[in-house]
Amino acid sequence: MADTGLTCDETQLMDGNQAAGWVAYRCSEVVAIYPITPASPMGEFADEWASAGKKNLWGDIPQVVEMQSEAGAAGTIHGALQAGTLATTFTASQGLLLMIPNLYKIAGELTPFVLHVAARTLATHALSIFGDHSDVMSCRQTGMALLSSATVQEAQDLALISHAVTLTSRVPFLHFFDGFRTSHELNAAVPLSDDDIRALMDNDAITALRQRGMSPDRPVLRGTAQNPDVFFQAREACQPYYDACPAAVQAAMDTLGARTGRKYRLFDYHGHPAAERVIVIMGSGAETARETALYLESNQGEPVGVVTVHLYRPFSIADFVGALPTTVRAIAVLDRTKEPGAVAEPLYLDVVAALAEARATGSSSFKTEPMVIGGRYGLSSKEFTPTMVKAVFDELKSDRPLRRFTVGINDDVNKNSLTLGPDLTINPPGTIKAIFFGLGSDGTVGANKNSLKIIHEETGQYGQGYFVYDSRKSGATTVSHLRFSPEPIHAPYLIRTAGFVACHHFPLINQMNVLEHAAVGAIVLLNAPGTASEVWASLPRSVQEEAIEKQVRLWAVDATEVARKAGLGRRINTVMQTCFFALSGILKGDAVSQIKHAIDKTYGRRSEEVVRRNHAAVDQSLSNLVEVALPAAASAQHERPAPVPSHAPDFVQRVTGMILGGKGDLLPVSAFPVDGTWPVGTAKYEKRSIATEIPQWNSELCIQCNKCAMVCPHGVIRVKPCDPAALAGAPEGFKALPYKGEEFEGSKYILTVSPEDCTGCTLCVAVCPAKDKANPKRKALEMLPIADIAAASRTSFEFALTLPEAPRTKVPLQVKQVQLFEPLFEFSGACSGCGETPYIKLLTQLYGDRAVIANATGCSSIYGGNLPTTPYTTNAQGRGPAWSNSLFEDNAEYGLGLRTAYDQLGKQARTLIETLAPQLPGQLVEAILAATGRDESTIAAQRDRVVALKDALSGIASLPARRLAEIADNLVPRSVWILGGDGWAYDIGYGGLDHVIASGANVNILVMDTEVYSNTGGQQSKATPIGASAKFAIAGRAIAKKDLGTIAMSYGNVYVAHIAFGARDQQTVRAFLEAESYDGPSLIIAYSHCIAHGYDLAHGLDQQKLAVDSGHWPLYRYDPRRLAAGEKPLVIDVAPGKARLSQFMANETRFRVVERDDPERFKMLLNKAEAEARHRADRLRFAADFQEPKAE
């Protein structure tokens, strides 16, 4: 894009999603939406704007429809288009794949349409939410035009080009920009005026669209089935439209350029006019390549240039060849995708073909035919920096460049990755670069976004903000990268050397290399308590050494204390922001006044009190800011602890430890499994210490109910019986009680807490029924500062781990005793107080040693399987859940596939045993084939028999014996579990779930119902209840949630349980036992409190009780076996009516905001919800009375 000559004043800060989303909204009449990262914000914006009454270009509020999946959204759009409306949608990654069938149809019917894509990695060996072009490249054959934006500004401008040209060309457009890097980058962009948009939207083309719309007044037929005689010709008939499309795009770009000064070409060339080496690239990487080329040209005189591809489909050979300087001798084509097995990646192939075509047709005017090589870069948002661009240009200089290469990784397996030179930093003069380390939800990111706005508005400087989050949902770290410059900022990569580094959460100093990217002489600001010398002394030695080596200017402020005194609680952002402004000097003049002015604007609408407190914090910040003088040498004797302990397995040391230490980028290809297979049980090596208070066991009060262990979302509390003699070596202060209960009479009872794995959610204390009679607020579990009790707690926990687990065959299957089973799901990164994980933990306690889990994409797949560490683990025998995630939409089918396979293998094993019976011990054969139960004793006995069988088989040299030995483990029953959330079960995966429960297969389905799409940020699902506000249902959902349990019960052969562990844990355990023992499909729908409900999850259990008592969440179990036994199959476990629905709703923000905003509407919704709860209770009561008539 050419320099526009515009000033910063004319720009606004926005991100790519907002930029593209706004144009799409203004240019559309129907918007179909479905959440998927990183495109969700576009749908959310559309819904919010519609909710706020914002209008499109023609004065109407677009109709925004949320669908059950991207496939549903595409189908809806297809229909809306056929009716002659302007329709749009947004998606990414697998969502885009689900749209492909409709994209073919929409394109085949030459339908004007724009699909905006925040381009994201496709799930292959692993899922990734980050950005590359593997999704959009999967659509290049659909007939959609593909238009690529490289920047936030382009995301807006080319969105308009797409909407304009699709109308006139009739070719539908897929407009895309890089997920996260562009979709989430805040940057300055000049907003399009309505006049600009109108100028490009052709009214005649809209009229033609209307005329083509399906109408009974002028009926036509579309979607015929055609035969060999005509299909081919008819398919070719559209070609002229594709031929004309590039020129139409260029014409629109020219019109836009004439109006705005922002000039685009289909293929934009930047660089030396007589370049010899050229990179061809699209997306945000083009911005980096372009800036680097210009730098190399102007600073080092290198004849290099970059072609940025905007219109990738239809690919205009003439325009592409015309964009290249005739002097070019070598071209590197960079693809942000990988196509294993292909000759090369798609953009490369297109370039090679285009050059060959030009050569063949004589339209090539190169002085010498250029040599072309192809490389991959930036998969899954892997950094793409000027250093990497230079490496590519350098490779083009070599005599024998790699024909296929990668850049940005160390591929020591395929040995085709480029070696990088020294760091190349490109800074326009006057650029300020700042990095901020913070904790999720601590306000750091919000404050930095605010700082960007203040600086942009107050100083006229351009700003850029990009925010990096880690993969945990609790205790996550954030790193904010902020650039400010008098010139527009074209640097879509992380800051490598910053002049300002701030650490908002002091413990991070011990976990991350905070000074790694500090420049020499950088200002470093720490939120740290104590005097300057105390702050210095608390720094690990390596940090001290790096500070001295780089001669940073070190400052400290006890922001936590300043914020607390100012009445801001733990919100330190104002304090840190004030110090940033003061130290960086970026605000000219009276910085304090400008900050206060910004606070007035930010908080003014909330309350005077909030403003006053923030002003007080500003005033106190600078007086508490102290400079820490650097001594000549480091003095600290302590060092940052290693990311994983030295006793961790080799893989964890070599790979997981590197990732945890923030050095994952340095791992070579050889470090990784080739097929996405990872070891389990790694979460235990990552001690995060995110809680400030943890529970202490006051054993003298304990009644051994084990409810604390049951509710602990993170598997931190462990209970077990043990032999008193085993306590001989117990550490000092280790507590044990005489075990209460016959099963382990004479044993000791112990309860221990893993301090560094606790998140401090307090659910254990909430559920504890054992109170000190003289001081009832003190319970058998009591939250105390971690610093006071961590050491003793850790020692006790580690000792307890060395004690043998309770023998499984002796543990009664009651709610209290099942907590004695070892959890094989521990220390997950789920939200503190998560309402889902206790169910999974229970599952692994009951069946983990023989469970296979199919997990739908969502929260449970993220805390279950997101690197660096994972919570599923093994017992002492090495057994544990085998876990896998296929997709979001197919999980039930995926689980059915697993079940089918195990059944088949089990059947084969039995057949082979029968075949080999004459050669095997008769009793063994008989016993193996006769084993039918699934209780612990039977399982244990069968496992022993399988060992004996394998032993016997080892002496038989035959193929059947070998085959049997391979599959003999399948003679022990596998427990197949299908896990997911309500977004999967109620919406996108419902069809599959329905089919699987109708199949009769022996699978166990656990739906953890949070009543909202939790993982993508709180969009409504069909499980969202009446009256709840959620994204896509801001004013409160008005339709009852789907009664999934009743639907499942209607089959008659499905075990169904509706459970809530916080309300009735006994029923929960019973449901799991019944579901697993049922030889058919079982569906457990589990109420799961969630941060998206909007209350302190410390009250999650109370809310679960209220949900049940008010009738919001009935507890019942439907067991088809009872039907067969002549009993009533449905048992209602808790009758509602002990509480009112309004009591339940009053405690949760999702309902409360609706009530506060519009009491009358809320009242209407409440009445509706009450009626629905009554109706459901009536339905259940009616069904509960049903009993099969006894045969005469």
């Binding site: 990262t37 990183p38 969700s40 959310e44 919010e48 909710s51 706020a52 939410i129 996260f180 989430h184 904790l439 999720g440 939800s441 306000g443 750091t444 990111v445 919000g446 925010f467 989050y469 993969s471 945990r472 949902k473 996550a476 954030t478 909330r606 309350s607 005077e608 009190e609 109170k771 009679k773 009832p776 939200c831 993220i862 939790s1014 993982n1015 993508t1016 940020g1017 709180g1018 506000s1029 959620a1030 994204k1031 801001i1034 941060i1091 998206a1092 909007g1094 209350y1095 302190d1096 923000t1149 999702r1150 409360r1152 905001v1153 609706v1154 506060r1156 905003d1157 519009d1158 009491p1159 009358e1160 009242k1163």
Partner: protein
């Protein structure tokens, strides 16, 4: 029978009106009360603390988990989508004002110094005819004297009175150690009425769960006695008009309240139990009682049994403590 009375400067056809309660939560309820003959409508309170709490909760809910995980940078629609301030209450005032012809008395419970005055102004702008200040402080702090509390009450009354032009009543709690003296000070602020008394949630102990549970019970006629005493003491001695609130369930209760000096009688528990029709019955019963007892008008009865007019004023004063004890023994 002439039941007319004057309360907060309004000439009312009779003294009976619903007190601050959920009865007026919706327009249908309000209309039913007006149809039942309510002399005025008293709205439930706008609780500044509740607004603040809701906003704080909402903000906390929005902040929890926000900017923490790349897939879900927020978990809720933005706060800007919701009117979490007093808007809904003010809209309710506007709607009720438009729906009924009788005076509409809004009610306010503030927390901050500026909250009382700011919200009072907004309520006035929304069209309320008068304002009842629901003032109470549970003095749990050991360093807080009765004087500090009283000063605060007086300051609030003065501040609100200076902020609005509509009549202002103060609904007091019965727990002031020197109520008469306080009322005298309140008079200087220019307030127009006093409502005796507020009723509160009371904590109870769950002896099984070892927990404290707050609850509110509907009033009974026995609670009227406290009101009668203070109505009688204040009646005729202070300028602001007086309303009785709490314990009126029967015609006799209403008669007593008026005899003690009430210009208006607020009823809540009775209406919650029996519906708006009970107000009609109370009004008609009051009329019949006056006729049966050959009163010329309600005004004739008003304050007839107050401290200065009743035949045995000592019964309202401290002396009757002994008398009650003695009567109990006998």
């Amino acid at each position: 029978m002439d039941l007319s009375t004057r309360y907060l400067g309004f000439d009312l056809p009779h003294p009976l009106m619903p007190g601050a309660s959920p009865l007026v939560d919706n327009l249908d309820g309000v209309r039913r009360l007006e149809d039942a003959g309510a002399a005025a409508i008293v709205l439930h309170s706008l609780f500044e603390e509740q607004i603040r709490q809701d906003r704080r909760n909402a903000e906390r809910a929005m902040e929890t988990g926000a900017d923490s995980f790349a897939e879900a940078l927020t978990y809720f629609p933005g706060l800007d989508h919701f009117a979490l301030g007093p808007e809904a209450y003010l809209e309710q005032v506007r709607k009720i004002k438009a729906a009924v012809k009788v005076p509409v008395i809004a009610s306010l419970n503030g927390v901050s110094a500026e909250g009382w005055a700011d919200y009072a102004r907004l309520i006035e702008q929304a069209g309320a005819d008068a304002l009842e200040l629901n003032v109470y402080f549970l003095a749990t702090r050991f360093d807080e004297s009765a004087e500090i509390i009283e000063d605060r009450v007086v300051a609030i009354a003065r501040q609100v009175k200076q902020s609005v032009g509509i009549p202002v009543a103060l609904k007091l709690s019965p727990f002031f150690s020197a109520l008469s003296g306080l009322v005298r000070r309140l008079e200087t602020t220019g307030i127009d009425g006093l409502v005796l008394f507020n009723r509160f949630y009371q904590p109870d102990i769950d002896i099984e769960a070892l927990e404290v549970r707050a609850q509110i019970e509907l009033s009974t006629s026995s609670e009227l006695l406290l009101r009668l005493r203070w109505l009688a003491i204040l009646s005729g001695q202070v300028r602001p008009s007086l309303a009785c609130s709490g314990g009126v369930h029967t015609v006799a209760d209403a008669v007593k309240a008026i005899m003690a000096g009430a210009n208006a009688v607020q009823v809540v528990s009775l209406l919650l139990k029996q519906g708006p029709g009970a107000l009609t019955q109370l009004r008609d019963g009051l009329s019949r009682w006056l006729e049966d007892h050959e009163y010329e008008s309600l005004a004739q009865m008003q304050g007839s049994m107050n401290l200065s007019r009743c035949p045995n004023p000592a019964a309202f004063e401290r002396g009757n403590y002994m008398a009650v004890l003695q009567s109990w023994r006998t």
